[in-house]
């Protein structure tokens, strides 16, 4: 396909291939755990605690999800947001397709190396503060596909993951529990720590 200005789709393929190979080479091991700050003791004063409380309440109550669903777990996510489990109760039914508006990335499904640059890019383009839930075995470690030549063994190779939810796929109840954990984690944020 001719794209114009002298580029055709083969050029794009080659370029994207390079991006994938570069990422694959740089993501040989998992990223460091992002949650070390959870245990840190910090000095707080009355203003920061009040502001923190308000901000954290706002942030945990209104988690908008980015629609970046890759595979099977998507259906359990949709089940969770559908009428029976109704994630909207927590104000989370707002699905934003643009990463600029989203707070939470639920990585529902297997990640392949071909998809990894895109997911990484979407994550990087999300506005701060942002969180990642690795949903399902594939999201944690590659799961049943961990041996495959094309599968990234876990999202934590390319993204800092906040909460892991095991299961293949996790039940909606498990997903809700995971979201509850994330909300607890958000409560521990403080502007005094610069986040």
């Amino acid at each position: 396909m001719e794209i114009g200005s002298g580029i055709n789709s083969m050029d794009l393929d080659l370029h994207e291939g390079h991006v994938i190979e570069d990422l694959k080479n740089s993501a040989a091991s998992a990223l460091p755990e992002p949650s070390r700050w959870l245990d840190e003791e910090i000095e707080r004063n009355i203003i920061t605690t009040t502001v923190d409380k308000l901000l954290n309440w706002g942030r945990k109550t209104s988690l908008w999800t980015e629609t970046s669903f890759t595979a099977c777990c998507t259906f359990e996510f949709i089940s969770t947001s559908s009428s029976r489990f109704d994630i909207a109760r927590f104000g989370m039914e707002v699905l934003r397709s643009s990463p600029r508006h989203a707070d939470l990335m639920i990585t529902a499904g297997t990640l392949t190396w071909k998809m990894a640059p895109q997911i990484k890019r979407v994550y990087e383009q999300m506005a701060e503060p942002k969180w990642v839930i690795a949903m399902g075995a594939c999201g944690i470690s590659g799961g049943i596909f961990a041996d495959s030549y094309a599968v990234v063994p876990g999202y934590n190779r390319i993204l800092p993951v906040d909460v892991y939810i095991p299961g293949c796929p996790p039940r909606p109840e498990a997903l809700l529990a995971g979201i509850e954990l994330l909300r607890k984690k958000i409560e521990k944020r403080s502007i005094a720590k610069g986040n």
Binding site: T61, S62, D86, E93, A127
Partner: protein
């Protein structure tokens, strides 16, 4: 606060600094009321959509989930502000302001009770018409300046869609003006001993449909068609600038509900309750209908949207205008039911004729 708002416009001349007091009360009153109602209406919409989809909707934040929108505001206020490096920065910054301002301005000429409005312009409705099209400029600026292909497409759709529906919107209001004989919105409300929706059902139909398109609600929500354009014109906006657009959208919905209530549903008029409560109730009713439509209907395609505006609504609006003016001149004593019936039958006949030419589907374009 409410009592102050209901003070007759004459306080201006009676009190010292009455003029400034009036500006302050109404200026701030409109903004506060609008923002509060946006927060409540967003909650209302989410709850209602929830009920339409047989689920609960937000119910955890505060009583009945009422604080959900407050949480959204807090979160979005403290979200990172991203300025795309390749965007046209000045336009990018200005767009939300330009989109938001005119929407609020429109409320300046809407009465909340007899004579209680910010400025009783003798050209009130013309002011509304003039100012309402500015929002589309802001939206276009946002879409274009973001340097994003989806938002560009959305911006282009703005040019075509929002502009096209101006025509039927304006024409449908002429019928109301003929019946009232004034351009002031306050006079229009006072003229409605019988709500104009009963005298001008066709006019109401045109006005309501066109305003759905103006506020880009389903089935005309092409500007931010999630399934096609990812998020639409505001795709690159984050934080408060995005929130401003979000706010604009809901303000527009509320303002057009207000206009519908004022022009066709008798505005603040109503027995027993205070006028302002009546107006709010009517606004709420219209807004609920908008939400109902949103939860029910799919989206039209761009050519269908255009055809609907230019080939259906526009001729219908002109026909409505002619018929109304004829009946005002030649049968001024017509009882209300008769003129309403004439208007309604015209609508029915027009729809029947149009449906003969209506071909579902589409065709490819040779490339």
């Amino acid at each position: 606060m409410v009592e102050l708002l209901l003070l007759p416009a004459s306080i201006r001349s009676e009190l010292p600094f009455g003029y400034w007091l009036h500006l302050l009360i109404f200026g701030l009153g409109i903004i506060t009321l609008l923002l509060t109602s946006v927060i409540i209406f967003i909650w209302l919409e989410r709850r209602l959509v929830g009920r339409f989809q047989l689920r609960h909707g937000p119910n955890r934040a505060g009583p009945f989930g009422l604080l959900q929108s407050v949480a959204d505001v807090i979160k979005i206020l403290t979200k990172e502000d991203i300025i795309p490096s390749r965007a046209d920065k000045l336009v990018f910054w200005m767009a939300p302001v330009i989109a938001f301002t005119p929407v609020v301005l429109m409320l300046g000429v809407v009465p909340v009770a007899d004579g209680a409005l910010l400025a009783d312009l003798n050209i009130g409705i013309l002011f509304v018409v003039a100012i309402s099209s500015v929002t589309s400029l802001g939206v276009f600026m946002a879409g274009w300046s973001s340097y994003n292909k989806y938002s560009l497409l959305s911006a282009m759709r703005t040019v075509a869609q929002l502009v096209s529906y101006e025509m039927p919107l304006i024409l449908s209001m002429v019928g109301v003006v003929i019946l009232t004989g004034s351009l002031s919105l306050n006079e229009m409300v006072k003229a409605q001993s019988i709500p104009f929706i009963l005298l001008q059902p066709a006019g109401f139909f045109i006005f309501f449909t066109a305003s759905l398109a103006e506020i880009n609600r389903t089935p005309f929500d092409l500007l931010e068609a999630d399934s096609e354009l990812v998020a639409g014109y505001n795709i690159e906006y984050s934080g408060m600038k995005f929130a401003t657009f979000y706010l604009t959208e809901y303000c527009e919905a509320i303002v057009l509900s207000t206009l519908t209530a004022t022009l066709f549903l008798g505005g603040w008029q109503g027995p027993w309750l205070p006028p302002m409560i009546w107006l709010l109730l009517k606004i709420g009713l219209v807004f609920c209908v908008i939400v109902w439509i949103r939860a029910t209907l799919p989206r039209l395609r761009i050519d269908q949207v255009m055809n609907f505006a230019w080939k259906f609504l526009l001729p219908l609006a002109i026909l409505n205008l002619l018929l109304t003016s004829l009946s005002v001149i030649f049968w001024p004593t017509a009882p209300a039911w008769a003129s309403g019936l004439i208007n309604l039958s015209m609508l029915a006949v027009f729809i029947l004729v149009y449906s003969k030419f209506f071909k579902p589907g589409g065709k490819t374009v040779a490339v």
